[in-house]
Subunit: 215 residues, 2 copies
Amino acid sequence: MKGVDPMRRTGPISNNTIWRLPRYLHILNELDAKDVACVSSAEMSEGVGMSASQIRQDLALFGTFGQQGRGYEVKTLREELIRILGVDRRYKVILVGAGHLGSAIVENFRSIAQGCVFQAAFDIDPAKIGKHVGGVPIRDGRSVTEYIRENGTDIAILTVPREGTRRAVSVLDAAGIRAIWNFTGVDIQCDALVENILFSDSLLFLAYGLSRNAE
Amino acid sequence: MKGVDPMRRTGPISNNTIWRLPRYLHILNELDAKDVACVSSAEMSEGVGMSASQIRQDLALFGTFGQQGRGYEVKTLREELIRILGVDRRYKVILVGAGHLGSAIVENFRSIAQGCVFQAAFDIDPAKIGKHVGGVPIRDGRSVTEYIRENGTDIAILTVPREGTRRAVSVLDAAGIRAIWNFTGVDIQCDALVENILFSDSLLFLAYGLSRNAE
């Protein structure tokens, strides 16, 4: 069954719904790798920790309906979610800051980054330039503007130290980067789209849960 | 002004609200470090990207009210949020998996982990055991059960490879760990409280934003 392109809908789909789609895609990737052909909303529900009715409701938003008694076709639904999430476009990604964190991310890039191509890594530390990370050489950070312009880079993974964040962001922004995946913990303002990974918020949330459990 | 202990409220505070508190604490930490005495909800709003009325509403839930014309006292509000979030309790934390990612986290532990004490690191790789990370020696992973029981560890930062996840979780769970901060990208089931950092979901969300911008 064909899905409806969410872009052609009159209203945007809520971020709460969009946030659930990667979870569905994650399960479908695993099922597809195991050559499972069909999955019911009840089966998906176990894997993603959401109710079957929530799943049916979310997928119906995209015009996707399971077949009575058979469920969803894994391959079709997976392809549809990939298209909806826009990860059929092969975004070009660079790493800015090749320390421990950046290395960990790009070395696991294939399992993390569906629909993205890792292009290049940059650092300003002369001791790192020329070494390899995630299968590519680390380039001189001063060449990043030229690189982005010549190679049409879409996304920068930003893993520089906190104190280098603002400078790196202004360079990336001026070079015309389209999106920044920000791991620095620093709030950044720029023209590019920003997605933050906030380690400290996540740990505080965990601590809150622990203190609540202890009551 | 004294806050009301959220634990004594009749209903639990929603997770959406709790999720916003670390953002407020983050801003208050920065203001306190700069010796700023008072802050208005409008000023906080700029730093956290939420409306001033949302902030006033959230803080009122805890019985915290700014003073007309002066705003909130930074020190008092900060201490209150620390207490509400339960991070005045000095949770004991260990690292399980001392690769690039684990090293990056514990080396930035002070800026990431308010209210937590980093105790020890573990790995099963003989080449890593005995080396140092985040100021502590890396111990043999086979001693983790004994360590947790003897030292009353609260939280394990789980940064083992995907394929080692289930085994590590069953060991930690049997040892009585209270919480797991899970970076493996693998869904885990256990008695401990789990908070997941899902890199792939975050990047998919960014890709979705890019594809929407391109339309």
